[in-house]
Subunit: 384 residues, 2 copies
């Protein structure tokens, strides 16, 4: 198995895009390739994610993207796994490069929904859940994650301010991130004055609908151009699945797919949670960050809330979590999210994270979840 590297990375500012997902995908792809010190002609495979392409009447995005890059002959396909789509694309790229089937693979995620009304956009998001058993009966993701939050809090009581602290921390980080959708801090008062969306969630417990695009180049060692940037070694690339329907799971105190992915990834990397310097986890709702920290083994079950209140997961804390602002405040353009987490790791390890830089950047972990955990990707990176 060949050592596999992330050699370039780029993202646009999440929020509202005037351009199409296709145009944004091409723009960030060129930027990522350029940062790698490569040209499009070096790319020999492309994986693109655009789960809600139907919202722009566009499928078959790979050849359109490659044509825009001047490499129409390069093979491609579109990878979907709900909110973990582009991290699934990264896993395919890893397999191609590590297995010697490709030398430099482009992975792009792009999404645009802001031209739709909220109800239609919600109906696109909801396709990640089980339509006949969940969505058709009225379940939406705020409701499903609120159920997870309620089940967790019944077993492991949390004062209400704990969820607020996750939101306040991630907004504080996003305020320093020029790529973020919400570049503003929020106070506890703002949080507590925001409306209930799905009990126990207030508005500020929920990630926004965002447009966005992000791209990385995954390559073999000979494509590493050190003078241009500090590349990252992919120490582990793991995908897992789980029962989609929450009503069929044995417990709701975490996500089985995250637990399994964490175990497998640490085993593959030969590392333990204590050896990870910072992480980007899938905080589509505030509770999800706490579940992730416990599922991945960073804290015992029931302990992530206290650690958050104590500031351990703040940007300057012992274990910075979501220094980008996370899905919660950086934004969540579904298919762009998984790759964007890796872009954050790339920028932190390259010293280009500016005001949101964390102290130690030798190792990092990214955790990206599909829907309520039907699928999960965990990647571990070492600075190359």
């Amino acid at each position: 198995m060949r050592e596999t590297w992330i050699v370039g990375a780029a993202t646009n500012r999440f929020g509202r895009m005037a351009e199409s997902a296709r145009e944004a995908a091409a723009r960030v792809a060129l930027e990522a390739i350029d940062r790698a010190g490569l040209t499009p002609k070096d790319i020999d495979h492309t994986f693109v994610s655009n789960a809600f392409g139907m919202a722009e009447h566009q499928g078959h995005l790979g050849p359109l993207l490659n044509t825009a890059l001047g490499i129409p002959e390069v093979p491609s396909c579109t990878i979907e796994s709900a909110c973990s789509s582009s991290s699934a694309g990264l896993h395919e790229a890893f397999v191609h490069v590590a297995g010697g089937f490709a030398d430099a693979v482009l992975v792009v995620g792009a999404e645009k929904l802001s031209h739709l009304d909220t109800l239609t956009a919600t109906s696109y998001f909801a396709t990640g859940a089980d339509f006949p058993f969940e969505t058709r009966n009225g379940a939406t993701f705020p409701g499903l994650y609120a159920t997870l939050a309620s089940a967790y809090r019944n077993a492991f009581p949390l004062p209400p301010e704990t969820l607020a602290q996750v939101a306040i921390k991630n907004h504080a980080n996003a305020a320093l991130n020029p790529h973020a959708h919400f570049q503003k801090e929020i106070s506890l008062e703002t949080y507590l004055n925001s409306p209930i969306v799905a009990s126990p969630f207030r508005l500020y417990d929920c990630c926004p609908f965002s447009d966005g695009a992000s791209a990385i180049v995954v390559a073999a060692k000979e494509f590493v151009r050190r003078p241009t940037s500090t590349p990252l070694v992919v120490a582990a690339s793991v995908r897992t699945g789980s029962i989609v329907d929450m009503h069929d799971r044995p417990d709701l105190w975490g996500l089985p797919a995250s637990r399994r992915a964490g175990e497998l990834a640490f085993r593959a990397a030969g590392l333990t949670p204590k050896e990870i310097d910072f992480l980007e986890v899938h905080d589509c709702f505030t509770i999800a960050e706490l579940l992730a920290l416990e599922d991945l083994g960073f804290y015992p079950r029931g302990a992530a809330g206290a650690a958050t209140r104590d500031g351990e997961t703040a940007r300057k804390g012992r274990l910075p979590v979501n220094p980008s602002g996370g899905l919660k405040a950086k934004g969540h353009p579904v298919s762009a999210t998984g790759v964007a987490q890796v872009v954050e790791v790339f920028e932190q390890m390259n010293g280009t994270a500016g005001a949101r830089a964390v102290a130690r950047t030798e190792t990092a972990l990214t955790h990206n979840v599909g829907a309520t955990g039907g699928s999960c990707s965990v990647h571990i990176f070492r600075r190359g």
Copy 2:
């Protein structure tokens, strides 16, 4: 690189399904696994294709399928590349097994559009083309392929009966195929009396909208259970791309992605077209079969029509082409098509093709195109 095999295969009858794509996917998956002499617990990765899942409000199909199979923890993702979606899934499975990342991979394609009105179904199909430059300006696939047919006929004149002969041959094959959407022969008179759809195409030049599902199991040698079935060796698995927009291509006498895929596949397999016993090619319209035969090197440019009129490509001819009936008559449930071509090869090589059996089945080729050739997959198989 490990030798990679197709150890099980199954398809349902194409046409109209009462059940959902998700239910059909699970049904054919179980059948393919069973034919392989395996159980779902042997599967360690799943690739599913369902390009138009939005028509059933359902994305994130991999974990739903794996949950139905009793293996929710197994990783999965959905692969889209327009009409070549599930052959792209097969390519990913090949890379995982050949590279040693997985031992037994399930590849499933399923599609259901029959519950939609024709205009809505057409709008789903059209997402495989370039929306701002083709579809939004009124282009649909019959019109785009009719343009290819006209350009070809301007350069290489064909009597009108040549396209008819492709349709008549493929309907004759489908009449013997219990999986086919149209299990009836057509006469030249029927063809000539059918309405013009997009000149020069009549109704019988065009494949139908079909529902359908198909599944294969791709595995390493130790998962070959010979007593159950004759497995197939994957001698080549190639994906290519091309400029999507026909108006930007240097010529329209074939598909650049097919030419390149054919060359690369024959090189990988160490075979020449003369050594292939039969093939399944992407005949979404009659002209497409002629283009494929020339693009893949089976006939010089301009010669496939005469060979067809002479009966060379008939089931009992020198080179049987589309013994299943092809997309034209077996039907074209978009994401099920690529895998269904492999199911046909599996049944022919296993001697279970019944009345439609071809004479020689030591080697075979499958050719699956995305849209008007923006992407292409070519696979070559040897009987194991």
